[in-house]
């Protein structure tokens, strides 16, 4: 491991120079000749029949080139999930009914934005409003307005059930009866948005020959191609989705969005390029946010803190269409049960349609909500039993080699090290004890410390399931890598280049990357399933291995040596012990072309997680394998509570994480810090406020994201459990989204430690704190 030159190193991002100089082209920066501007007309009602749409006046506006409504579409639905159990349920343009404020009804392409706006204002839509429902518990009632028919396989007499996940193991009733302590609580989370700085934007350019070129701010071009081709009713081969830089996504840019579909269809209608860029207000008011969960949690433990049983009932509000709502109730099961051994479980989760905008994955995808519940309650249990927060976590924490009930194995698991090292680093127990005894004191400012624990999967089987990579050697001995992976800021292109560099001893700078283009690059799993470093990384390593094998073969022939005696060094191959017997990569490429009938040396690599598993686990029953590597972490928050104002400050955040092997520690740190900051926003600052389906704060003045004043002191402890060896598969883990979770719970536990107030819902507002302290009513 010590001889690693490129992986495990703090190497600068490959796209850095383009980004600091303003040369990096994002989708919105594209300007094509003759390009039109597209705008979307949205429903003002949360629930209504569309009686008639009259576009005649709008069509007469000079400069309007096309107007589309549902009648111009094929009426093909799409969904984040499209399975036999959960078929697609949303039209790209509303057909005869709208189900949320902001639902897309029509779109216009015009020569400039003002003309497009004017045309939108002249489209006459006649609606007949219908009764609407916004709260999931109300929407479940048998007498609630029906948004969609309840899922046919759900037996209970609930209305509006989009989907249900149900699973169990052991016997919870028996275990509760045998428990020394049984505790039952309800935890609630709130609505937050992703906050990507780059707006949602697409450019579509249809060539008269039948080719549809699309640039769109996304988390993976292949899923966009699939969904665009399907809804437009055209072959995959006619749709090309290409790379532009992506200005942040955080889960919010995975699904097919109506603006992408409309830009494409408008371009097909006009044979001109069309750009549609959502305004920030549209993004806040009509696009997809995260998913608050209602979590009812009953836990039984032995006196010594050993978990015996947990029973969960989780209610999710995915809005007017399924979106990823039925994925969250599946994932919530996993995030609830990954970190600790749990012999008995009963879990049921419901996704309930409401007349709210559709919801999407959001960094952590259910984990922050679930860890907040489990970790808060674990601290309550510890206190009740006279245990400390560290020992109860260590007692239950999973250890290396443990099998999960679904058949997965945690392999090398650094959870106990994460817990112990972060506790030691912060002098957790000493502070925890001192704060508790001071909690009743009369000082205005009180300190608290708290811990949370979390785990996250690293890649699963959802379309496109796998990654492939091609590496081409060039005549001068340099390399070009073709990868479908998209860099959304996480550094995909950089870490994949580091892997190639390591395997082939070529400087990272000399590796050209062609990325994220459905036409020229092979398929990639996408930047939303936390499998980039593992799945795309191993595909890259395999491709590089093939190149190395070819280089060694040709070098062995040319140097009349055994391939096993050859060494790669700085774009050359030499014979071990005889460094003068050496050929450059340039010479080897030339030799290969001459002697191997024109082969300039290319390599290809492929990787799929859980190679023997036929498909993803069941969203309904959780049966089937989920992932083959799990990351673990413990996070500690130190807070200061102002008991006069109720304001809580996060003064220190410590993250101890087992991400396997960090390919680039500098990028890993960036992920950790960004997640701590996002969790800080989650805990204290951010909430999308809605009333009857309308967004009350659709801008960054009224929706408060952390700014430089809210910087958190973020410290990192790497618990490295995996290694990287040249020429061998490696098992690295997730680091890009799991770390928004435990820190949220840690903050709640730290607030309790400071002032003795247990928080059952996010965000942790001054109002809640003061009310709990009895200072306001």
């Amino acid at each position: 491991m010590s001889d690693l030159q490129f992986v495990g190193k703090r190497i600068q991002r490959k796209d850095g120079p383009a980004k600091v100089t303003g040369r990096a082209m994002y989708t919105g920066d594209l300007n094509l000749p003759g390009m039109l501007v597209g705008k979307i007309l949205r429903s003002p009602y949360p629930h209504a029949q569309i009686l008639n749409i009259d576009i005649s006046r709008a069509a007469q506006v000079a400069g309007v080139k096309a107007i589309i409504t549902a009648h111009d579409t094929l009426g093909i639905k799409h969904g984040f999930v499209e399975t036999p159990r959960y078929p697609a349920d949303q039209f790209p343009l509303a057909m005869d009914r709208v189900r949320f404020v902001g639902e897309e009804v029509a779109a216009v392409a015009a020569t400039d934005p003002h003309t497009a706006e004017e045309a939108l204002s002249l489209i006459q839509v006649d609606y007949a409003p219908l009764p609407a429902v916004f709260d999931p518990l109300e929407a479940m009632r048998p007498d609630a307005p029906e948004i969609h028919p309840s899922h046919p396989k759900v037996r209970e007499p609930f209305q509006n059930i989009a989907g249900k996940t149900e699973t169990s193991w052991g016997d919870v009733e028996k275990a509760f009866a045998e428990s020394d302590l049984v505790i039952e609580n309800r935890f609630e989370s709130h609505l937050r948005t992703h906050g990507y700085l780059e707006p949602q934007v697409s450019v579509a350019s249809f060539e008269p020959g039948g080719k549809l070129n699309v640039w769109t701010s996304s988390q993976g071009p292949f899923i966009k191609r699939a969904k665009l081709a399907r809804t437009l009713g055209i072959p995959f081969s006619t749709v090309r989705v290409q790379k532009a830089y992506v200005g942040g996504a955080f889960g919010g840019k995975i699904d097919l969005f109506s603006h992408e579909y409309c830009a494409a269809l408008l371009s097909m209608k006009t044979s001109r390029p069309v750009k549609i860029c959502a305004s920030r207000e549209e993004i806040f008011a009509a696009y997809r946010h995260g998913q608050p969960l209602l979590v009812e949690l009953k836990t039984g433990v032995k006196k010594d803190g050993t978990l015996l049983a947990q029973q969960f009932r989780v209610i999710n509000n995915p809005g007017a269409y399924r979106g990823s709502g039925v994925v969250v109730i599946f994932l919530a099961w996993g995030f609830a049960t990954l970190p600790y051994r749990l012999p008995n479980l009963k879990y049921e989760g419901y996704a309930v349609y409401t007349n709210n905008p559709v919801r999407a994955p959001q960094r952590g995808h259910g984990a922050p909500q679930m860890r907040f519940a489990v970790e808060s309650q674990l601290d309550m249990i510890a206190e009740e039993l006279g245990l400390d927060p560290i020992e109860i976590r260590l007692k239950n924490a999973r250890r290396s080699g443990e099998r999960l009930p679904n058949g997965d194995n945690v392999h090398n698991c650094g959870l106990t090290e994460c817990i112990s090292q972060s506790a030691t680093h912060t002098e957790f127990l000493e502070k925890h004890k001192a704060n508790r005894s001071a909690a009743s004191a009369n000082e205005r400012y009180r300190r608290g410390i708290g811990m949370g624990v979390s785990a996250y999967f690293g890649g699963s089987l959802i379309y496109p399931n796998s990654s492939s990579v091609i590496i081409k050697m060039n005549d001068d001995g340099s390399l070009t890598m073709l990868t479908g992976a998209i860099d959304i800021g996480q550094g995909a292109e950089t870490i994949l280049s580091q892997i190639v560099a390591e395997e082939l001893k070529v400087p990272v700078d000399e590796i050209q990357v062609i990325a994220a283009d459905t036409e020229t690059t092979p398929v990639d799993i996408g930047a939303w399933i936390s499998g980039g470093a593992y799945v795309s990384g191993n595909a890259t390593r395999e491709a590089a291995t093939q190149v190395r094998t070819k280089l060694l073969q040709i070098a062995a022939n040319e140097l009349e040596a055994n391939p096993d005696d050859l060494v790669l060094e700085e774009k050359t191959v030499y014979v071990m012990g005889s460094p003068d017997r050496r050929l450059t990569y340039q010479e080897l490429v030339s030799a290969s072309v001459r002697k191997n009938r024109g082969d300039p040396i290319t390599g290809e690599g492929h990787w799929r997680t859980m190679k023997d598993e036929p498909m993803h686990p069941s969203l309904a029953t959780t049966k089937g394998r989920w992932s083959e590597n799990y990351a673990f972490d413990a996070q500690i928050a130190e807070v200061e509570v102002d008991t006069e104002t109720g304001v809580v400050r996060l003064i220190r955040a410590v993250t101890a994480h087992d991400c396997g092997f960090p390919i680039n520690p500098m990028l890993v740190e960036g992920q950790v810090d960004g997640q701590v900051s996002m969790a800080l926003g989650h805990a204290f600052m951010e909430e999308v406020l809605m009333e009857e389906g309308r967004t009350l704060n659709p801008n960054w003045l009224d929706y408060h994201m952390p700014c430089m004043h809210n910087i958190a002191q973020s410290e990192h402890i790497d618990v490295i459990t995996e290694s990287y060896e040249v020429g061998r598969p490696y098992r690295t883990k997730e680091v890009g989204e799991g770390l928004v979770s435990a820190i949220l719970a840690a903050i709640a536990n730290a607030v309790y430690n400071a002032i003795g107030v247990r928080l059952y819902s996010t965000p942790f507002t001054p109002e809640k704190i003061l009310r709990a302290l009895g200072k306001i009513k």
Partner: protein, 164 residues
Amino acid sequence: MKTLIELSVNGEKYELGIEPQLTLLEVLRDHLGLTGTKEGCGTGECGSCTVLADGKPILSCLALAADCEGVPITTIEGLAQGDSLTTVQQAFLDTGAVQCGFCTPGMVLSAAALLEEFPSPTDPQIKKAFEGNLCRCTGYNKIMEAIRQAACNCGQQNVQEKDK
């Protein structure tokens, strides 16, 4: 009704016939092709559109282009000379202060203006200078580190220049 204006951007003079309601951001991006200046919100909340007007950071989405006549404007494209990056740009790369990069042009320009005014800024001065620049990726930690490093390196550069 279009008006004729003369803008000075990155040391170049441009004569433009524009509608008077156009913002500086629109003119930079749509008329001059300077797309390094980004629009994150269009309402002055995120700082992605920051440019320098006479060396001071302004929000180009809130400034009318016509009001910028006679004021030298610097955009992100005006900082680096060819391949040679400024100290601030280099510090952003060295410290890992760039992720998605959408806020980066505004951040780099805010940093350049800050260090011009305060070559060795205190942390409160840094926070004050950047309070209008949102970043969702980094949590600001590495941006803070980049500015401290750039301040340190700018200082060294000044000393070296004095020695010459």
